[in-house]
Amino acid sequence: MNWNSAGEFFAMGGYALYVWGSFGVCALAFLVEPILIASRHKQIVRTLRRQVAAEKLEMETK
């Protein structure tokens, strides 16, 4: 084990800004990207649903 305490772990031997600045931004990116894709998928599904509903309505009113 490299660390004697949590504080020592977060201090990263004085390199905290650089180590956590790297890992933090990567973690954020890997969290945000799937969220953006999920909303893109949801949006197209919503559009398609509206289309299908409109077509159905058209068929019924004919």
Partner: protein, 249 residues
């Protein structure tokens, strides 16, 4: 033999690939989580402190995997684009399109983590060094590919134009990879190379490889999710899309 070929080609159509991708995504998420947990544990708790760089060197566990992935995804993307161009296969072009943003993200993170490593070790966030500059060009190639595709309204024409850009850009990947050999760079040489025993502790090497595997699985999961959205967007006019359970009202 012919039977097996048939089975493979069956998944070459967006119609059959869409549900298959949906089933595969959780598998890749799970693999990414397992490799990521193992890699972070090795990288932070097992790998020893570096003799010259102290704890600052631990950036390697994210910097090298993102850099590898930025180059690898580009090659895979160009491969799909080439297949789309030569076989006129829609799904291949959609795969290339789905990979580009993730590749761009990896290139950006490679540059970002590199800057955060360069600052404490070299004293500067950025230098116009061959390795750094060629990686920046890779980032711009991804952006160029995406911008070009977005600017052409006809998707099939966009696929073709994008494929040509992607293929021309492939020449940059070996330039990045060998830049530390061909030129005198501030960037250090390859940490791991074929035919050379790695110049680092075994636990460091494993931490790096596991993190690379994690990002590989992550990239597959994310690309599959994105390609599913692209399939729906581009096949919106077809009957099979309208028959999907998530679309039917």
């Amino acid at each position: 033999m012919s039977n097996r070929l048939m089975n493979w080609f069956r998944f070459a159509s967006p119609h059959t690939f869409y549900p298959l991708a949906g089933r595969l995504i959780p598998v890749f998420w799970a693999l990414a989580a397992v490799f990521g947990a193992a890699g972070l544990w090795l990288g932070f708790f097992v790998a020893p402190t570096d003799a010259t760089q102290g704890e600052g060197y631990r950036i390697i566990f994210i910097h090298v995997p993102t850099s590898w992935m930025s180059m690898f995804i580009y090659l895979v993307m160009a491969g799909w684009a080439a297949m789309g161009l030569s076989l006129n296969a829609r799904l291949s072009s959609m795969m290339a399109q789905a990979l580009a943003p993730t590749g761009a993200l990896m290139a950006f993170l490679s540059l970002w983590t590199g800057a955060f490593w360069g600052k404490p070790m070299w004293g500067t966030w950025w230098v116009w060094d061959a390795r750094l500059t060629s990686e920046l060009i890779l980032f711009f190639l991804y952006l160029g590919f995406m911008a070009l595709q977005a600017s052409i309204d006809d998707p099939r024409r966009a696929d073709k134009a994008g494929a040509i850009v992607a293929l021309v850009g492939v020449v940059n990947v070996p330039i990045i990879y060998f830049s530390v050999k061909w030129w005198n760079t501030l960037h250090q040489g390859a940490s791991v190379a074929i035919g050379k025993s790695p110049s680092m502790a075994v636990t460091m090497l494993w931490g790096m490889l596991l993190m690379a595997l994690c990002l590989w699985m992550y990239s597959i999961a994310v690309a599959l999710r994105r390609v599913r959205a692209i399939i729906l967007e581009r096949e919106a006019h077809t009957d099979w899309v309208k028959q999907l359970s998530e679309v039917r009202v």
